[in-house]
């Protein structure tokens, strides 16, 4: 008996582990196929299932939650698909969820996708039915492709005629593209135009200094300068007021001894501001002159 027990436990271990491996494999594969564990059924009616087969995956939010259990023709225009889905996802599938048939990748298997509805809060029942969305059929796709191909044919025909007339015709555009003489004459015209405008601007300068027209131009300039000066004066007053307010605050905070220094600083600031303003005036005047010159042309 002792001799026997020496190997029986080893044998028992061997057999147990071996059978456990087999049972585990069966269990996990069965789990993959939804054979074990609690599941529920729902059905959906389609016009066409586009090659969906029993055993294809059912997806919800991109997760595999079940498989297609049965595909049955009811009449000549409708097919009922029954699917087995894990019980744990049932609470997420509402009565207004919709089933559609898609493809897993370009060459992959067909996949039944359940998309959530918007409004319903009622959970779908066991053996309940959900609505379906008809997927894009290859035929429909080909129809729309044909339409755009037909359009493209018309467009390319016209394009061909256009380019032909561009190459062989005698229209202005065709000659512009093809003809060297034409191109040269166009560029000549442009350079003539350039020199013409230059001459014109010189004429205008001359006209400004002419005694007959001088008065007119001077009047205009004076009016504009007056307006600017008024605007600037207003601005300066505002700035000075703001500065005074600041200075008063500062005075309160700081001692009287610093007053003299501050005044100096103020004076400097004012000077700098005035200098800036003067520069701006000059620039504006220049710009106005340039504008006038252009208008004159």
């Amino acid at each position: 008996m002792d001799k026997q027990s020496g190997y029986t436990w080893k044998l028992g271990m061997f057999v147990t582990i071996g059978l456990l491996l087999f049972v585990m494999a069966i269990y996990f594969i069965g789990k993959q196929k939804n054979l074990f564990g609690s599941t529920f059924n729902i059905t959906s009616q389609f016009k066409t299932v586009s090659g969906l087969e029993v055993g294809n995956n059912v997806r919800f939010s991109g997760i595999n939650i079940g498989t297609v259990e049965e595909i049955q023709l009811i009449n000549d225009s409708s097919v009922v698909v029954r699917m087995v889905i894990k019980d744990e996802v049932r609470k997420f599938i509402k009565t207004d969820a919709r089933a559609s048939i898609g493809s897993d990748g370009l060459m992959g298997d067909k996949v039944l996708t359940i998309s959530p509805g918007a409004n319903s809060t009622k959970v779908v029942e066991n053996n309940g039915a959900i609505a379906s969305v008809n997927g894009i059929e290859m035929q429909d796709l080909m129809k729309s492709v044909k339409k755009s191909v037909d359009n493209a044919a018309v467009i390319t025909d016209e394009l061909a005629i256009f380019s032909h007339s561009m190459n062989t015709g005698n229209g202005a555009l065709a000659r512009l593209v093809r003809d060297d003489k034409m191109a040269n004459s166009v560029s000549n015209t442009l350079s003539n135009l350039e020199s013409g405008t230059k001459g014109f601007s010189e004429n205008m300068e001359a006209a400004k200094s002419n005694f007959l027209l001088k008065g007119y131009f001077k009047k205009k300039e004076k009016e504009k300068e007056k307006k600017k000066e008024e605007l600037k004066e207003q601005k300066e007053e505002q700035q000075e007021k703001a500065e005074k307010a600041k200075e008063e605050k500062a005075k309160e905070e700081k001692e009287k001894a610093e007053k003299a220094e501050k005044e100096k600083a103020k004076a400097e600031k004012e000077k700098a501001e005035k200098a800036k303003e003067e520069k701006e005036k000059l620039e504006k005047q220049k710009a106005e002159e340039a504008k006038k010159a252009e208008k004159g042309k």
Binding site: Q4, K10, G18, L21, I29
Partner: protein, 252 residues
């Protein structure tokens, strides 16, 4: 020519009668439980290290060999599924069966052959012990039941070997690897392969016993019995495999 053909058919006929006797005796008491368990231990447990090493190497090598081709197609992610499928469907059962043919069939052939030569079997008959029941039934039954379990071990260890092979070049999480394998497996992959292994086991045991039991007198016939047991068992395994795959293909 005709004589060799006739001898072959005689051999097959004798083997069939031998097998028929097994089915007749297996259900009839007395059951030799103790001897059966001992044979299970010798056939199953003692062969495990050999099968484990072979299975591991097969998984590893298969992964490394199929990798370049799959990489060419950009289908590297199919590697676990492919290796597991070929291991479970074909390679693990056949390799394990061949290993068992080499180890078990030859062992049984030599053991029974030497018993026959030294007239121990005759002595058993004289002492009112049914030698067929005691020697043959236990061994064939042990073989039939142990070889499938050895194949399960080979499958599991081969898959671990495949994991090591994949991690030589890439980096795949073990859980992800197992998921990929389970995704590609179906019952259709496991069940026919398992049924097949029972036949492998039965024929390994049966051929070993038949060759040993029918050894002619003389010391050299022991070696002959062992040798021809291995050769015949290996050949039979391939023939059974072909038939089994054909049948599976036909029905599913």
């Amino acid at each position: 020519m005709i004589l060799t053909l006739k001898n072959t058919f005689t051999e097959i006929g004798n083997a069939t009668v031998f097998a028929k006797q097994f089915f007749k005796e297996v259900f009839v008491p007395p059951y030799e439980t103790k001897e059966f368990l001992k044979q299970c231990y010798v056939i199953g447990y003692k062969s495990l290290p050999l099968v484990a090493i072979t299975g591991f190497i097969m998984g590893l090598v298969l992964t490394l060999q199929s990798r370049p081709t799959l990489v060419k197609f950009g289908a590297e992610s199919w590697l676990p599924g492919m290796v597991a499928l070929s291991l479970i469907r074909e390679i693990a059962p056949v390799i394990t069966a061949l290993i068992c043919a080499g180890k078990i069939s030859s062992g049984i052939g030599a053991e029974l052959g030497s018993m026959k030569v030294t007239e121990q079997i005759d002595a058993m008959e004289v002492s009112a012990i049914n030698p067929y029941n005691y020697l043959v039934v236990t061994r064939i039954l042990a073989c039939t039941l142990m070889v499938p379990i050895l194949v399960f071990f080979a499958d599991a260890i081969g898959i671990i070997g495949g994991y090591v092979g994949i991690n030589i070049h890439g980096d795949v999480n073990f859980y992800r690897y197992l998921t990929q394998i389970l995704q590609s497996l179906e019952f259709l992959d496991i069940i026919p392969a398992t049924i097949k292994t029972f036949f492998f086991g039965f024929f390994i045991g049966m051929i070993g016993c038949y060759k040993g039991f029918n050894a002619s007198n003389g010391t050299e016939s022991v070696g002959k019995a062992a040798n021809s047991a291995v050769v015949t068992a290996s050949l039979t395994i391939f023939i059974i495999d072909m038939v089994a795959v054909q049948i599976t293909d036909l029905f599913f």
